[in-house]
Symmetry: C2
Subunit: 198 residues, 2 copies
Amino acid sequence: MKIYGDLNSGNCLKVKWACDILKRPYTWVDIDTTKGQSRTPEFLAMNPAGQVPVVELDDGRALSQSNAIIRYLAKGTALIPAGDYAAAKMDEWLFWEQYSHEPYVAVCRFMMVYLKKDVSELDSDKVKRGYAALARMEHQLAETRYLTGDSFTLADIALLAYTRVAHEGGFHLEGYSALRRWIRDGETVLGLPPVARA
Amino acid sequence: MKIYGDLNSGNCLKVKWACDILKRPYTWVDIDTTKGQSRTPEFLAMNPAGQVPVVELDDGRALSQSNAIIRYLAKGTALIPAGDYAAAKMDEWLFWEQYSHEPYVAVCRFMMVYLKKDVSELDSDKVKRGYAALARMEHQLAETRYLTGDSFTLADIALLAYTRVAHEGGFHLEGYSALRRWIRDGETVLGLPPVARA
């Protein structure tokens, strides 16, 4: 299997982490979206949306959308809670991540890391909504060890990707002690070094 | 089962349509988000994100996020394609809908229908991205009858919800003949009257 992605992109890291934890072998193919590499005819044939990550399975079939990919790769494993309702509660977080977290937390980081903007130039509405997303996670993680309960699942992988580097988008996590505890726990599960956080 | 929702919200209609087509009985509970009815303590206990739709299952457990809900309700039915890869291709559309379609097509409609803005007041970037989403669908629907192939699935339910009323958000579908054909086909499947389109 090939993963086409950018190691600075949380969406791409979700796929890498899921493969790593599942011990699923893959070849990583670096794609520099800033150089148009996700807009070539070959890439668009795999994903007409022109976005990373994309996986190319061993039989040549392609799959895109980070959360759809990890859901596919993790089918039948402990990364998806057993039982239809528990799996649906995990899906709640996956869809919420793409709608209510990534467009604020990840986009602010994109502005600062990729576009070299200063924190003062960020859209204040995006910052506010980013903090609202972090507050919702804090609320949950004050109650449970991981987002869906006692077990580490795809919900944690999907949300760790950008929450772990939220400080790179100007977000301060001082008041979010449960969130910081969860980040450390997640880093341990994934075998990642602790990131330096402001 | 109870569905808490707003009949003007495409996200809520997805759940209604999935139940209707699956002949799954439910009680509809109208929630007026503009009057704070999704922010009461009782509602937030069901969905801390304070958003509709929410379903309350017969055993009292709650589920939110429209696409997570319909995925749960349709498990094991023909609305989810058979086979892990085919189901994952459907998931691609569900996640894409929430990230690359709803924030533009539905949000422009929200501005016009709920906030009574004029089309000239819409954010031009949102309009542009909305058309990009419609163009991607047109590209697919020129190739296949439904979004994932020959069969009507949750991908079609999720995308019909706001595409069918895109004109209410100022989008013109004249140049999108495959999309218009698909909307009519979808309306037939769902037993809906054709909407008047500009």
